[in-house]
């Protein structure tokens, strides 16, 4: 790591990142469209749905947010939705932790934008590029910007045309996120030893998922994997 090249930023990287984001499009379109549809059914205005997609921009927490969305808000319900959002999105702390060495010399404002646009999918694409020796921060930002845009468009489409979408199940599109994730697992493989922490993560996540309702299983499994990685020489 100490011999790796110094991070930099270029416009060519932005374009590269935008292209590299393509495999994440189907998952983003499906998820955001499903959110837009659910938001419309729940009675949210277009502005409310777009506000969630544009600013919160985190699929699982947007969906959970809908479940506790109110017509009339109180202090308690605002606090509830804030807490639930923080719990669901706490796993993002881990994503940022791995990005720190890459973003260390970046100007603060650009890092803030880059991190505002971070999603698991974009982070995985950026991580792959970084693992292959790339250090252009523009790639991360290019991926982030394009995926954000796709998310907004798909939210609008889902909001207005959700009922018109033909059965996504027929084309396996409801499962597109797990498929994308498993594809992104392949370039991370560096022999069986690298996969040992992954197995720990998978096992812990499976057990937590079976015992505890909610989205806690992801961060529980991920943390278990990190700890296993630290312990295994």
């Amino acid at each position: 790591m100490s011999s790796s090249p110094r991070p930099f930023f270029s416009l060519a990287g932005l374009r590269h990142g935008a292209r590299a984001a393509l495999p994440a499009f189907p998952g983003f379109v499906m998820f955001a469209a499903a959110f837009g549809t659910a938001a419309a059914q729940k009675g949210l205005s277009l502005a409310e749905a777009m506000g969630l997609s544009a600013f919160v921009y985190a699929g699982a927490s947007q969906m959970v947010g809908l479940e506790i969305w109110q017509q009339v808000w109180t202090h308690t319900t605002i606090l509830t939705i804030m807490t639930v959002t923080a719990v669901v999105n706490s796993r993002m702390i881990l994503l940022g932790a791995t990005l720190q060495p890459w973003l260390r010399h970046e100007p603060l404002a650009r890092s803030a934008l880059n991190l505002f646009l971070i999603t698991e999918a974009g982070w995985l694409i950026g991580t792959r590029y970084h693992n292959e020796g790339g250090r252009d921060v523009g790639v991360l930002l290019g991926t982030g910007l394009v995926l954000w845009l796709v998310w907004q468009i798909a939210t609008i489409v889902g909001f207005f045309a959700g009922a018109l979408v033909p059965e996504p199940k027929r084309f396996g599109l409801d499962f597109v996120m797990p498929i994308f994730f498993s594809v992104m697992l392949v370039p991370l493989w560096k022999g069986p030893r690298t996969a040992l922490p992954w197995l720990v993560a998978g096992f812990v996540s499976f057990v937590v998922h079976a015992l505890v309702p909610g989205y806690g299983f992801i961060i529980a499994g991920a943390l278990a994997g990190v700890i296993a990685g630290m312990l295994i020489e």
């Binding site: 506000g51 808000w73 599109l173 797990p178 991370l188 493989w189 197995l199 499994g221 994997g225």
Partner: protein
């Protein structure tokens, strides 16, 4: 305080809810970077961080895959196999989607 209550119960309450969700999500997004800038990255910490991407993937997809049984496992297996052979992510994605739609058409 009562003015604030009136504000929350007005339509502005939704704006406040979105702002609150945005704030905590952004704090989660920057939290890791802020935290790690205060932690010395020892070889041990580096090993842990290196294990994270694969761990997040497994933690996310394994429970979902097992819940959905054999069609899901074969689908993910096909996606991984094609990706491993070609290293082209879009082909891996297409292989997974194709496999699942074929399985569902047959079942």
């Amino acid at each position: 305080m009562s003015e604030f209550s009136a504000f929350i119960t007005s339509p502005w309450g939704s704006v406040l809810a979105i702002a609150a969700m945005t704030l905590v999500t952004f704090l989660c997004r920057i939290g890791g970077v802020v935290l790690m800038s205060h932690v010395r990255i020892t070889p041990r910490v580096e090993r842990g961080l290196r294990a994270l991407p694969g761990s997040i993937i497994l933690a996310t997809i394994l429970p979902v895959a097992l819940d959905n049984g054999f069609p899901a496992l074969i689908t993910l297996g096909a996606a991984i196999a094609v990706m491993a052979l070609t290293r082209i992510d879009l082909l891996g994605l297409a292989a997974g989607l194709g496999t699942l739609s074929v399985i569902r058409a047959l079942l």
